[in-house]
C-alpha cells in the first residue's frame, strides 16, 4: 500500500490539496446556508463526501491537506476562529481515506467503491475520534461528552453522507477521467 506513488508529494498533490481544501471550505459554508434536517444533535456536512473523494482519488497527502486547510478555511470564512484540533481531525479523516488510492483500479467498480467507503468510514472514525478526544483535554470535557456529544453525532452524520454521496462522486469521476485520458 505504501508504495512511492501513494506518498508522493509533488505538483499534483499541491494543486489537488488546494482544490480539495477550497471545495471543502465552500461546501461546508453552503451547508450552513442550506442546512439539512437532523435528528437530535446529529449534523450533516455533505462536504465530507468531497473530502473523502479527494483522498480516494488523489491519495493521503491530498486528503490530509484538503481536510486540514479546508476546515481552517471554512471556519475562517464563517468567522468561527481557528481550532487546530478540529482542523487536524479533518485532515486525518482525509489522510486515512486516501490510503485506499492504490487499491482503486476502476472508479465505477462496485468492489472499489466499497473499498473507498470502508476507508472513508475508517477515516471518519479516526479523524473525529482525534478531534473529540483532544477536545476532552483542551476543553476539559468528560469522556461521555467527548464520545457521546461530539464523536457519535459527527461519526453518524459523516458516515451517512459518505455512504450516499461518495459512490455518486466516484462514478461521475470515472466518466470525467475517461474523457480526459489521465
Amino acid at each position: 500500500m505504501n508504495d512511492k506513488s501513494t506518498w508522493e508529494f509533488g505538483t499534483r498533490q499541491v494543486v489537488y490539496g488546494a482544490i480539495g481544501a477550497a471545495l471543502y471550505g465552500v461546501l461546508s459554508l453552503a451547508t450552513n446556508y442550506f442546512p439539512l434536517p437532523a435528528a437530535g444533535n446529529v449534523t450533516f456536512r455533505p462536504a465530507v463526501a468531497v473530502l473523502i473523494f479527494f483522498g480516494a482519488a488523489y491519495g493521503p497527502w491530498v486528503g490530509l491537506l484538503a481536510g486540514f486547510i479546508g476546515n481552517t478555511l471554512g471556519d475562517a470564512a464563517m468567522g468561527w476562529g481557528f481550532y487546530w484540533n478540529w482542523s487536524l481531525g479533518n485532515g486525518l479523516m482525509g489522510l486515512v481515506a486516501g490510503l485506499v488510492m492504490p487499491m482503486i483500479k476502476d472508479f465505477k467498480a462496485r468492489s472499489d467503491i466499497l473499498k473507498a467507503i470502508g476507508y472513508g468510514v475508517a477515516g471518519i472514525a479516526v479523524g473525529m475520534l482525534f478531534a473529540s478526544v483532544t477536545e476532552k483535554f483542551i476543553g476539559g470535557l468528560d469522556w461521555s461528552t467527548a464520545l457521546v456529544g461530539y464523536f457519535t453525532p459527527a461519526f453518524i452524520g459523516n458516515t451517512l453522507v459518505v455512504v450516499i454521496l461518495l459512490p455518486i462522486l466516484m462514478i461521475a469521476f470515472a466518466g470525467v477521467a475517461a474523457r480526459r485520458g489521465r
Binding site: 509533488g10 505538483t11 499534483r12 499541491v14 494543486v15 489537488y16 490539496g17 488546494a18 482544490i19 481544501a21 477550497a22 471545495l23 471550505g25 465552500v26 461546501l27 459554508l29 453552503a30 446556508y33 439539512l36 434536517p37 435528528a39 455533505p46 463526501a49 468531497v50 473523494f53 482519488a57 491537506l65 486547510i69 479546508g70 481552517t72 478555511l73 475562517a76 470564512a77 464563517m78 468567522g79 468561527w80 476562529g81 481557528f82 481550532y83 487546530w84 483535554f137 483542551i138 476543553g139 476539559g140 470535557l141 468528560d142 461521555s144 461528552t145 456529544g149 451517512l160 453522507v161 450516499i164 454521496l165 455518486i168 462522486l169 461521475a172 469521476f173 470525467v176 477521467a177 480526459r180
Partner: protein, 296 residues
C-alpha cells in the same frame, strides 16, 4: 452565496502583531492550561483577563461576532457548564471526590417513564463549572479574532515562516485563492439547476433521499474542479514548480513587540509548568470564600 472574508484592516495592536506571534502565543496559552492540567482559579482568572484584554484590543464590532458569540454562549454555558454542574466530570477527579456541601438535589426524570434520580448539586461542582467555562473561554477568545484580524493572503506565508514546507504553504496559499472561484461556480450551478426546475428549498423525501438530492449541486462543481486542476498542474509544471526553494512575495519580520509577546507566552507556559510540577500548585480546589458565600 459568495465568500466574503471577515477580515478588515483596523490598525490595532493585534493587527500590528506578526501572524506567527499570534499563533505561537495562542499555542502557549493552550499548552499552559492543558499540559500541566491547570484548574486553579488563581491562575485561570488572570489568564482569562489577559485573553479578554487581547480580544478587546482587536476592536471587532459586536455585529460581526454576534452569531459566533451566541453559538459559543450556548455551547459553553448550556452544554459544558450544565454538564459540569450536573456531573462534575470532565476535569480532575477531585471535583467529585472531595467532600463538598450539597446545595440542593435536582430531580431528573426520563420523559414518558418512571425512571429518574436525584442529582446532588454541590458547591464543588458549581465552582468547577465556573472554572471550566473561564478556562474554555480563555482559549476560545484567542481563536475568535483570527479570521477578523488576519489577512487571508498571509496564512500561507505565515505557515512557511513557521517552518512548514514550501509545498504545504503553497497549498494553503492556493486554497485561499481558489475559494472565491469555487464559491462563484457553486452559485452558478445552483442558479442553473434552479432554472431546470430544481427546488433547492423543497428537498423532499427521507434523510437519505435529501442527501442524495444534493448531488446535482455538488457533482458539477467537483468534476469541473478536477478538470481545472489538470490545467493548473500543467501551468505550474511548465514554470518548474517544486524544483527549487520558492521565494515569497510577502515578507514577514518580527518587531520588538512580537518578541515581547512571544516571550510573554513562553513565560506563562513555563510558569504554569513549574507551578504545577515543581510546587504542586494549579490543581482544583474550592476556595473558602466561595463556600462561605453560598452557605454562610
Amino acid at each position: 452565496m459568495l465568500v466574503t472574508w471577515k477580515y478588515r484592516l483596523r490598525d490595532t495592536f493585534i493587527q500590528r502583531l506578526d501572524p506567527r506571534t499570534r499563533f505561537i502565543y495562542m499555542l502557549c496559552i493552550i499548552f499552559a492550561l492543558t499540559l500541566p492540567d491547570i484548574w486553579d482559579f488563581r491562575i485561570i482568572l488572570p489568564l482569562f483577563l489577559i485573553s479578554l484584554t487581547l480580544y478587546l484590543l482587536a476592536r471587532i464590532e459586536w455585529k460581526d461576532v454576534k452569531r459566533v458569540w451566541i453559538f459559543i454562549g450556548i455551547f459553553v454555558f448550556f452544554i459544558v457548564g450544565l454538564n459540569a454542574v450536573l456531573s462534575g466530570r470532565g476535569g480532575p477527579s477531585s471535583v467529585t471526590n472531595i467532600v463538598s456541601p450539597v446545595l440542593f438535589m435536582l430531580p431528573i426524570k426520563i420523559p414518558f417513564t418512571e425512571i429518574g434520580w436525584d442529582v446532588p448539586i454541590t458547591i464543588s461542582k458549581l465552582w468547577f463549572a465556573m472554572n471550566q467555562i473561564a478556562r474554555m473561554l480563555t482559549m476560545a477568545i484567542l481563536a475568535i479574532p483570527i479570521p477578523y484580524t488576519m489577512n487571508p493572503n498571509i496564512y500561507g506565508t505565515a505557515f512557511k515562516r513557521m517552518g512548514v514546507s514550501d509545498k504545504v504553504s503553497f497549498t494553503m496559499d492556493l486554497a485561499f485563492r481558489f475559494l472565491p472561484t469555487f464559491a462563484r461556480d457553486f452559485k452558478i450551478t445552483i442558479d442553473a439547476q434552479r432554472a431546470r426546475g430544481y427546488e433547492l428549498d423543497k428537498l423532499k423525501g427521507g434523510l437519505a433521499a435529501r442527501i442524495r438530492r444534493l448531488a446535482p449541486l455538488v457533482i458539477p462543481v467537483v468534476m469541473q474542479s478536477t478538470v481545472t486542476g489538470e490545467e493548473v498542474i500543467d501551468a505550474m509544471d511548465l514554470r518548474a514548480f517544486g524544483t527549487a526553494p520558492r521565494t515569497w512575495l510577502k515578507n514577514l519580520q518580527y518587531a520588538p513587540r512580537d518578541y515581547a509577546m512571544i516571550a510573554f507566552g513562553v513565560i506563562i507556559f513555563t510558569t504554569c509548568c513549574v507551578l504545577k510540577w515543581g510546587f504542586g500548585i494549579g490543581g482544583f480546589f474550592v476556595p473558602e470564600f466561595f463556600t462561605k458565600l453560598l452557605i454562610g
